[in-house]
Amino acid sequence: MPVALNPRAARLALDGTRCDGHGICALRCPERIALDQWGYAVVADDPIVEPRTLARARRAAAACPAGALVLLAPASSAGR
């Protein structure tokens, strides 16, 4: 069953098929993103409400060279 989303909060989502382990995202938003033992992103997908975290998450998504990370907008399932 799909996890119910907080319609007022954004969340990060990783496309594992695109992630190539560049690691820039973890530098931009360490409070939500870490790297595993092979260098690939481990992304926390819980809702982001704190404005500074949100800004860093947005920068992390924009910075990914592989286009693997998106910040899903509230109450939507697509888009950056």
Binding site: T17, C19, G21, D36, Y40
Partner: protein
Amino acid sequence: MRAGALLGDERAAPVGGVALLGDEGARLLAGPSADAGAESFAAQRARLGPLVLGTPEDTRSLIGASGLLGRGGAEFPTALKLAAAAASGALVVVNASEGEPASRKDELLCRFRPHLVLDGACVAARAVSGARAVVYVHRRRGGAALGAALAERTEDGGVALGLHEPAERYIAGESSAVADALAGGAGLPRRRSFASARARATVVINAETAAHLALLARGGAAWFRAAGSDAAPGSTLVTLAGGFARAGSVVELLAPVALGRLAAATGSLGAPEAVLVGGYAGTWVPGAAAAGLSIGRGGAVPLGCGVLAPLEGASCGVAETARLVRYLARESSGQCGPCLHGLAELAARFDALALGTARRRDVERTRALAASLRGRGGCGHPTGVAQLAESALEVFADEVHRHSAGAACAAKAVGLPLPREEQPCPWR
């Protein structure tokens, strides 16, 4: 509508709620026995009556009222899935690729009840206001029978039906991979939230789910809910693999049944040390608990793709699991680092366990590795393998302990079927 053919099963319920192909009282498996081959269009219409499709809204309401959960593994409510696709006039894809090595339920439906599968495709298409449906099926695993069945049909309900041959790999049956293949892609998993517009215009349902739709459209929601349980209505098919006496046979459960009773009803030879439930990326259940385990949709242990595989008497759970992990690791689509690297390392660690070259701390690292793979990657594959690995480490803890003390595996027989083993297993 031949209501009697559907209602009759309530008056002649199969023994213990377990039915084989052709049994009176079965639902999906009702009708002629295997000797008769595929049930023809004419014979099916004579037995069940015509397929009458309502409006898309009525069709979706009916499916919602039935409470049907998908039979492909995830048990997602079919009504929700079809409602999400309804606005786009999506292409319905019936997934009969059945890449799970030991599973035979979808193939059996395609070979012997092809018109249930095709009728179900039409019902699903009507539910999404679509005009096309495709069955994704290997020619030699029921596709040929479906092709012959297509040629027989004299009514199409306004739905154009076709077939599509999948690639010969385990991951080809993952639902986003199916959608990708139908959209002209490579047939590898794609993240749904990033899916291309073309891939989004498909909705994938399992072949057994489609067959249930075919009967539901005739019998109605109340009839449908008279089988199964309140939480997971309807009958369900399981494939008995490995140690069960009639390995490879498919049975229909009209209600949840204790595994021990299922084994007795189908002629199993005794008490297995453990049973793998839900497919190879499933859950090991210890033998002591297995006999009383309730088998059915929505049960304590997820039924997944419906495979029940007891551990053969002469086999070792660690060695068997190592063999399965190696197979599943090889079948990774290789698109995601954690899956490609993580499963390869997990396979190497299980090989070491089976060979007796791993030590106690390696066991803990193996457990931690498996846990770290949950939820990673672009599809559910690594999570499934993690589930297999973690349950093995728990259920076969004694064997794991012996192996980690330096004892190589003493197993002589290897039981669970795998296709085309290209690499020799190090412990054989």
